[in-house]
């Protein structure tokens, strides 16, 4: 299990990264924390001609609050979320989901943006970004553009990013004091990708639940005006609506059961 050959480029600036991607497109892969790409390189599932390392680009490791958003730079680590002041009150969903993201060891190296870019349907951070109405800031030789979370995830490991684009940063909005969030997840083991994860949000726009681990992308469903006594029916409809499939970790029936259970728990929590 050793990677195939590739050219290694250690980028010094954001412009370097854009230049390499502009030149090589899909034949180049961006390396940050390495928690997803490195195993794929070693298993030779991924065989880029060029690996562009962005870990030494200055200022990409930022994680700060500006304009009522948590701004997360491309190489900011997942573990750095734990250091964000008042995470539990300003970003309750991130705070609740953080312990479920991999392990201590992978959070220290894994980046928030890397997880978003990898777009694993079972990963927690894409789910949070969608549930929180976050944004992605893409960069390419052609310039920059912003994409809303719900427009960004397109399929299993597929995003709206063009081949010459990379994520320069992601933005998670600060919660209002009246907003309510709840997160639940079931995996086979502690630290595993979710079989099903669910996040419920109640804010001044209404109520919605986002489900990860089932469809190819985090699936968000609005339940505006939902009352507690309707939750049972609502989550049953939600489970039937999703594209539940069987794999070695869970049957389709289990996924539906988990959707009902976790969506119900999270909705109850935000409605109580």
């Amino acid at each position: 299990m050793k990677p195939a050959k590739f050219d290694y480029i250690c980028a010094a600036t954001v412009e370097d990264v854009a230049e390499v991607l502009g030149e090589h497109g899909a034949d180049a892969r961006v390396l940050a924390g390495g928690q997803s790409l490195m195993p794929m390189l070693s298993m030779r599932l991924s065989r880029p001609q060029v690996v562009v390392d962005i870990t030494r680009v200055p200022h990409l490791d930022g994680m700060r609050i500006e304009d009522d958003h948590l701004f997360v730079g491309a190489v900011a680590r997942q573990q750095s979320l734990a250091g964000v002041a008042d995470l539990a009150t300003r970003f309750p969903l991130l705070s609740q989901a953080l312990p479920w993201i991999g392990h201590y060891q992978t959070r220290v190296r894994g980046t928030v943006v890397g997880s978003l870019a990898h777009a694993d349907p079972s990963a927690e951070l894409p789910l949070c970004l969608v549930a929180m109405n976050g944004e992605i800031n893409l960069r390419s030789p052609r310039g920059s553009r912003r994409v809303r979370a719900e427009d960004f995830f397109k399929g299993t490991m597929l995003t709206d990013m063009a081949d010459d684009e990379f994520i320069q940063s992601a933005r998670f909005p600060v919660a209002k004091p009246t907003d309510r969030f709840a997160f639940r997840e079931v995996g086979r083991r502690h630290g595993d990708f979710a079989i099903v994860a669910a996040a419920a949000v109640r804010d001044d726009t209404g109520i919605h639940v986002t489900v990860g681990g089932v469809n190819d992308v985090p699936f968000r469903r609005r339940f505006d005006g939902l009352e507690v006594h309707d939750i049972g029916d609502a989550v049953s409809e939600l489970a039937a609506e999703l594209d539940t499939r069987s794999d070695l970790h869970a049957s389709a029936a289990l996924r539906r059961q988990l959707v009902r259970s976790l969506a119900s728990d999270t909705l109850k929590e935000v409605l109580s």
Partner: protein, 166 residues
């Protein structure tokens, strides 16, 4: 922008356990292979090469890392600590290492170096870590011999001893 073509061997200089050392690597050489086969630091073990088992865990610039998920060329100029650097002297053991010996926290010892690096880092950063926190951090490592019970005991004993010494 530094470019290392696929077919080139380059020199990588890195500080390991307090000494600057140099070795040859290709762009694709895994750091775990570089440490073991180029620098001769065979204490870092390779158990899965996909970042799950934790046997290859080391510290890079003070933070833990799976060395199978890093390229050798990425650590140019960095400071690395491996299992070989944990003991205070060749004939003595750190408090954590000693606790592993006393509580039978290892059997075959293959996963042990990575576990020691993780727990050493944890107890440095969080000297009051409770059993749940220790188990949580330990869950980033797979051990097939011990059933984890004696490892948790050893970690708790080391934590208490370190607090006494502090």
């Amino acid at each position: 922008m530094r470019r290392i073509p696929a077919n080139e061997q380059v020199r990588v200089s890195v500080e390991v356990n307090g000494r600057v050392v140099t070795g040859q690597a290709e762009s694709r050489t895994l750091l775990s292979d570089f440490l073991r086969h180029e620098l001769g630091l065979t204490g870092t073990h390779v158990g899965c090469e996909h970042g799950v088992c934790g046997a290859c865990t080391i510290r890079i610039d003070g933070d833990i890392a799976r060395s199978c998920l890093k390229l050798a060329v990425q650590v140019e100029g960095a400071s690395i600590e491996t299992i070989e650097g944990l003991a205070p002297a060749p004939d003595s053991l750190s408090v954590l290492q000693q606790a592993f010996v006393e509580h039978h926290g290892l059997q075959c010892g293959f996963c042990t170096p990575g576990i020691l690096i993780s727990l050493d880092t944890l107890l440095r950063n969080e000297p009051n870590a409770d059993e749940m926190r220790i188990r949580e951090v330990l869950s980033g490592h797979l051990c097939r011999c011990t059933g984890y019970t004696p490892i948790v005991k050893a970690a708790l004993a080391a934590r208490d001893r370190l607090k006494e010494l502090d």
